[in-house]
Symmetry: C2
Subunit: 213 residues, 2 copies
């Protein structure tokens, strides 16, 4: 199948949404936790978390301020500058998925979706107790993407909580150990199976690819 | 394990690179193909491709202009405005990984890593023939991220090429059908197994999560 830009524009809206949300490949599955200054917590699923750099440790995510989940998350981050990023594991994907429902501002997705708030010293935003890999984040920059009204939120990692067994002594994290999942499109979840690890690639140490000919 | 911002800053450089490149969860595995105006092709692996919006169909990726792969890709895109995004499948992950080696500007990663250039009408940039899901992209905006010298490249989808069998009539793409892979960190590859799909989440149609208590 070959779809051109015009074909895509002429595709029915929901189908186009499904296609374009799927074509970048697998996406990370994270829950972002926030709290308003009057103590109301919010939890929302995001598949747009992205590595930006490791020194300083910067992570971004794309937020749509015109959608309910984006609005509540954005308002809370603007109020106090902090949020959490919590990996989604196989044991609670259905609960995580339903955080995307349009709940009212007075309803917490933690409560509605049977996930547990967890607080640590020196970080105001709620973590997800059921998540075993999680980050406490502090916002450092907001970049509006005017083309479509989205916003790139950039934060610095203030806290990293991870099971000792998930990280080796080189700092490599095995995502299959905590049963992390990935997302395709808006509603499809994938289990991850580690199949290969290669050394740092050097031009003078290439494998012999001629065997593939 | 609980690492604070200070612990992360004090971690040895390579270990920190591994940790921070892994903590966002699974990342998509794509090869970005470009060509200079004098006809030299370039191919580089990127794990930072991200969905930005479906109408218009916008996709971003993070590029480091200070690294060889980023520099060659960026220079070519600036010359003619087009590039391709090609999914990496299980059959050629090692070849794809080695496109990250620092080859000279006159060496094409297609040649060095035994991948095949493929050209289509009305798109100047080279696709990867071995890839079965691929996008022809046209740049629409470049957003510098001054915090760490990276750049968010935003492009519009001009061509989408995908096997008929990988997409259902709702536009949902099954990533396991073309044997797509995901990346963790800088060098670890994961196979994807579809385990769940849920309906669009509505607050008045929540599953009964009390059974989880």
């Amino acid at each position: 199948m070959h779809l051109t830009k015009e074909d895509i524009q002429n595709t029915e809206k929901i189908k186009r949404l499904n296609i374009i949300n799927s074509i970048t490949g697998i996406k990370p599955a994270n829950l972002i936790g926030t709290i308003s200054n009057d103590g109301k917590t919010n939890l929302a699923i995001f598949s747009s978390v992205i590595h930006l750099g490791s020194n300083p440790a910067l992570i971004g995510f794309i937020l749509r301020p015109d959608r309910e989940a984006g609005q509540h998350t954005f308002d809370n981050i603007k109020e106090n500058g902090v949020y959490t990023i919590n990996h989604i594991h196989e044991s609670f994907i259905e609960q995580a998925h339903y955080t995307s429902a349009k709940f009212g501002r007075d309803e917490s997705e933690f409560d509605k979706c049977a996930l547990t708030e967890e607080f640590i010293a020196n970080h105001k935003a709620p973590f997800v107790k059921e998540s075993t890999v999680k980050l406490g984040m502090k916002i450092v920059q907001t970049i509006p993407i005017e083309l479509n009204g989205t916003v790139l939120i950039i934060g610095e990692v203030e806290h990293l909580i991870i099971p000792d067994t998930a990280m080796d002594d080189q700092g490599q994290i095995d995502l299959s150990e905590p049963n992390d999942v990935g997302i395709s499109g808006l509603n499809t979840y994938y289990k991850l199976e580690k199949i290969a690890a290669f050394p740092y690639a050097r031009p003078n140490a290439l494998p012999d690819f001629s065997k593939n000919d």
